[in-house]
Every structure is written in structure tokens, then in C-alpha cells.
Symmetry: C2
Subunit: 364 residues, 2 copies
């Protein structure tokens, strides 16, 4: 069964990555595999735009990366300011409050970015230990400008956690330049690797914070002080690393760097522009203002021609009759928008044409 995956992830995976995935196994402490781990860490640092030593592929999906960032930096009773403009900002609030964090929400309408002044005001007022927000909101297709919020966080002396799930490997991520203390992503979006791992990165300041906690991290599995034993110099056993997935990620990162980050971003922007123009001709309208659109994932208001046929039925027909997956709306946007991902390997104008052609067949 062949699928073109133009939803919010996973995206299609290049043949080279599938072949890497299918390599005969190595042990998780085999020097030959540890060389792969080394390479993954070096490449992730470059793609994250950081020199953070603690940059590694966490052995779980992106949502666990979110949890790892928050549960290592927060202790019960700590204040945290969270920017909420979609499902993943909401999720951060839920994760933080389960850890025992006292959450202050800064909200924006879904489909718009956070107001940096509102974030600055909340940070200055609450003086939280951590502020967290989403770079690329997968539920709305908004790309959040990072610098103004980061500047305000520096002024308030607040550590920043950034969700880069749908930006890493697609558009520029520059953790060190921005001054981000902890960031997480997923493998199945712009990196075009199967889902299962969460690339994460922590600054030296974040690691100092973790080391000076008054009580241990609630999660043994996600505790960075323990993970540092395997992902640092010593390479000692903590848990069994997902050998095949890490090997596949290594190949996916090689492909990203062979293309180059700038060329890759350009390709994502061109594909998204083609999508908006081509589907505009079919009556789809972008939800997000041009200045804040997220090239890897475009949210489109549905035209009458789709709504009258039932948007879920049209998506099902795209999948069953044309082998094309697109994403429905999430949360408040369910039934009102589609989310079309042109991520990583899939960010190509020819894929836009294939989607448009299938839609014309269904709607005509």
C-alpha cells in the first residue's frame, strides 16, 4: 500500500532511511553503534543551531520530549508561563501542571501568534522559573517569531523551553542565537524519519538547574542526569537505546545536511507557496496571515465544494482512491480546516500538483 503523507506527520521517508532502518542490529553498547550515536549528536547540534553537549535523540516520541523538557526543569510548586495558541500550547500546560508546576497561561487566538508583549508582561509579573512556547504550532500552522519573546525572557532571567516539532529540519532553528535553554522535536516531520524518537537539546544553564534540583526528576526514564551517562563521555547503560531508529535517524540527518539547511528551507517555502496558490484556485484559503505562516504545515479553510461533500468523506476518498493523506482540523478547528503538511522529503511542488489533481477529480 503506497501513501503520500501530506498530513501533520509522519511524512514519507526516503528509501535510504528505510534501508538504514532495516540494517542488521548492533548492540546498544557496541562501539560501532556508539559511533552512530556520536554522529547523530553532532548532526543534531548543527541542525538545532547549538553547541549544547546535551543534544540527543530521546527514546520516545515528541510528546515525551515535551515532558522531558518540563519535568527536568520544573519542580513541584515552580511557576511556569506557557504561551497557548493551539493544541500543543494546551498540552504544555497539561504536562506542566501534572508535574506540579503552577501554570500561568498567555493566550492568543488559534491561527494567530502569541503577543510578545503579553509574554513579556507575564514573565515580568510572575518571575517564573521557566517560560514555554511553541515555535511551529502543528494544530494551527502558525510560525511564532522567537526573538522578541527570547529577549524578554533574558531580561526577566527566565529559562525558555521551545517546541520545535514541526520546524526542525524544515525552517531555521537557532537555539544558541535565540538563547533557548531546552528544546524538543520529533523525527517524523521535517526530518523525514519514522516517528519514535524525540531530538532534544539542553543548555549548560538548564543542566545546572537539573543538577541543583532539591528532589529527583519524577521520571527515571527521562531524567537527564541519568541520560547523560549514556549520551555523554562514559557511554554507560541506562536503558536499551532503540538501535534501529537511531541508525535511521542518522541517515535522515545526513540527507538533511547534504541538502543544506538553507536550501531545505527554500524548498519548504516554495512548496508551501505553490500549495496556497494552487489550492487557492480551488477555493481553499489560508487560515494564517502571510507573515506568520509555517511553511512545513499549511492550515487551509475549506471551500463550500468540500464542506457540502463532507470534509471527512473527501479526506477518506483522497486516502482510499488516491493514496493521499491530509490532516483534518484539531481541537477548535475540527471540521473547519485541513492541515496540509509539505514536510522534509515531501516538500515538493510536484506533490502539490498531485494533491490538486486528486481534489479536482473528487470535487468535479
Amino acid at each position: 500500500m503506497s501513501r503520500m503523507l501530506l498530513g501533520p506527520g509522519p511524512s514519507n521517508v526516503p528509501e535510504r532511511v528505510l534501508q538504514a532502518l532495516a540494517q542488521p542490529l548492533l548492540g546498544h553498547l557496541d562501539p560501532a553503534f556508539l559511533a552512530v550515536v556520536d554522529e547523530v549528536q553532532v548532526r543534531l547540534r548543527r541542525i538545532f543551531g547549538t553547541e549544547n553537549a546535551m543534544t540527543l535523540p530521546l527514546s520516545a516520541t515528541g510528546s515525551a520530549g515535551m515532558e522531558a523538557c518540563l519535568c527536568n526543569l520544573l519542580e513541584p510548586g515552580d511557576d511556569v508561563v506557557v504561551g497557548v495558541a493551539g493544541v500543543f500550547g494546551e498540552r504544555m500546560c497539561e504536562v506542566a501542571s501534572r508535574i506540579g508546576g503552577r501554570v500561568t497561561r498567555v493566550e492568543a487566538e488559534w491561527g494567530t501568534p502569541l503577543d510578545p508583549d503579553a509574554m513579556a508582561e507575564a514573565m515580568a509579573r510572575v518571575r517564573p522559573r521557566v517560560a514555554a512556547f511553541v515555535h511551529a504550532e502543528t494544530s494551527t500552522g502558525v510560525c511564532q517569531p522567537v526573538e522578541p519573546i527570547a529577549a524578554a525572557a533574558r531580561e526577566a532571567g527566565v529559562m525558555l523551553v521551545l517546541d520545535c516539532v514541526t520546524s526542525l529540519g524544515g525552517i531555521r532553528v537557532s537555539l544558541d542565537e535565540w538563547g533557548i535553554d531546552a528544546a524538543y522535536s520529533g523525527t517524523q516531520k521535517c526530518l523525514s524519519c519514522p516517528p519514535g524518537l524525540s531530538p532534544v537539546s539542553f543548555s549548560a544553564r538548564a543542566m545546572q538547574r537539573v543538577q541543583s534540583r532539591s528532589q529527583p526528576v519524577q521520571s527515571w526514564y527521562l531524567d537527564l542526569t541519568l541520560l547523560a551517562g549514556y549520551f555523554g563521555q562514559e557511554r554507560v547503560y541506562h536503558h536499551t537505546a532503540p538501535v534501529s531508529m537511531v541508525t535511521a535517524l542518522c541517515e535522515a540527518l545526513r540527507i538533511v545536511e547534504e541538502e543544506g539547511l538553507e536550501a531545505r528551507e527554500r524548498r519548504h517555502r516554495e512548496a508551501a507557496a505553490a500549495l496556497i496558490e494552487t489550492l487557492g484556485g480551488l477555493g481553499f484559503e489560508p487560515l494564517v496571515d502571510e507573515a506568520y505562516r509555517l511553511p512545513p504545515l499549511t492550515t487551509l479553510r475549506l471551500p463550500e465544494s468540500i464542506l457540502t461533500r463532507g470534509e471527512a468523506d473527501v479526506r477518506r476518498s483522497l486516502l482510499d482512491d488516491h493514496g493521499i493523506e491530509v490532516g483534518g482540523g484539531l481541537g477548535k478547528l475540527a471540521g473547519r480546516v485541513w492541515r496540509v503538511g509539505l514536510m522534509g522529503h515531501n516538500a515538493r511542488v510536484e506533490n502539490v500538483e498531485r494533491l490538486a489533481s486528486a481534489l479536482r477529480t473528487i470535487v468535479s
Copy 2:
């Protein structure tokens, strides 16, 4: 690079499983993939010996499975009795205490099983919410008889958590017959699938407990009430399932069931017996009494011929010159024993002969 993986896991993966891993991706909500999820759940139930609806592949490794069992069933301040006779019993104590559990330890010497009377006494005295122990202690090679402890737990009205990481798919696991409330395993041992997922199973009583908690599970990622949305009837999004790994696990489970659980256990027992006999001829002696040996993983005291050459050097030579991985001792047993895994696909007498032949070359 080709390796024969005779350590404590991962084990080698059959070609069919590697091919499944390398299939082009499906979306995690694609009906074609949800059929794979269904099949995995049905097969896992049979292999776990249970009718538990909440039987599923958790999207992280076995250690996260341990954490999922304990963090869903325990609330801060709850008592838990833990059997400790090796690294993984120790890990259970650490995980439980980070969750806020009040841990009562019942210890046994490493290389011996837990005393059921001591477990019964502790459960009767402490009246904990949960008791937890390891079926197959990967650090010592002890197979713990489950029934006597399970009977005592029933009498005390205590819920039981069982570590089946190195037993599931190799030797008999019968959760319902034994009366186990929560169990976890890993994919990379006797199931001969790459590491990355943790098969888990929870009884209806365990799920009632989770639903009647006074506060939410600390981990959003591992919260069973949320996972039930995806792994139950509704199939709604929680996190992005690791599509490729789940597809590979499905193929691995098919292979297990094609062989049959009884035939598979017989093969594991025959391979372990051959190992002990053949390496006995080279001076290796089993650490564990015959009645408690764990067929998938044998712990062997090292002969002088290995100790004088440096056991780590001999293991390195096995790996570099012969492509064979065996495991060193863990924790208290480091430097004193080897752990030889004959797990899943690798549980074959011919692999024993290949190991013995390589050892003869090195030692002679």
C-alpha cells in the same frame, strides 16, 4: 558489519522483521495502520496469556514500561512492596520512590530467587497498594516462580506488577492464570524485534484503580486513561504512534505464533542446556541453581582462563574478531560473570557451537 548478539539484548532480528520495519510509512490514524495496531494487540494478549483489553505496545523502551506500570497504579504516599534480587528490582524501587511511593524492600541474594514467604510477610504487614517483582531478572539470570507470590498477594488484596522483559515470547507468561494486574516487557529480547517499544498489559482492576485516582498520573505521556483513547475503540490521537516499529513488532509476533509458544519455550530450554554443557567444558559455571535458571539468559561464572586474560578484553576480542556479542556482569556481578542471551531467534544450539568455537580460539 555482522553481529551475533548473544548478550542481554537486543537479540538478532529475523529478515522478515527487518523487511517489515522498512515498509513505506502509513499515517498513524490510517485505517490500514490501525488494523496493524489491532493485530498487535490481539497477538500480545495471547502471548501475555491474558484477555486484558488494555494490552498494547507502549511508545518507548522496557524501562518506560516499568515506569508506566508504577506511575499509573501508585499515588504519592502509597505503599509498595518491591522484591529486589538484581538491577531491575533495584530500578523498580528507584522508579517507585521518584513517583512518591513508600517503598518496602524484600531482598534476596543476587543469583537467587525471592523468598515467597518474605514477600507474603511484607505484604501482610505493610498492606501496600501494589507489590512488584521481576519474573526474569536480566542482571542475574534468575527465573522467579510467580505462583506462590501471586497467591499471597491475592490473600492480602494487593495488586501485582510483574517485569516480563526477558521472559515474554521465550518462556511461559500467563498473566490471567497468575492474577497479575500490570506487566511490562521489551521488544528486543525473546520477541526478536528491535528495541524501542514496551509491550504492557493492565487488568480491569488496574484500570479501575487508574480511573479512581485522586490526582492525575504524573506523566501525560504514560497516562493509561489517555492511551486508552488510541488503543481502545475510539482510535483518537494522543501521540504519534511509532508506525514502523509497531509494524515490525506485528511481524515479530506473527513469527512467535507461527512457531507456537510451547515449541518456542522448548527451543529456549534446549539452547540454554547446550550452552551450559558446552561452556562447562571450558570451565564456565552457571551462577544460578538449576531450578531457577532463566533459559533465555544464562549467567556464567568465569573460569581462570578468561579472568587471567581480562574478561573485558576477551569480550572485545569476541566482538572484534568473531562478531559475537556477549554481556558483562551488571552491578555487583561486574567482572565476575558473563550474561549470555539465547533469546528468540538466537536460541539455537548452532549459536552455542559458534560461541564455543570462538572462545576456544581466543583461549588456546
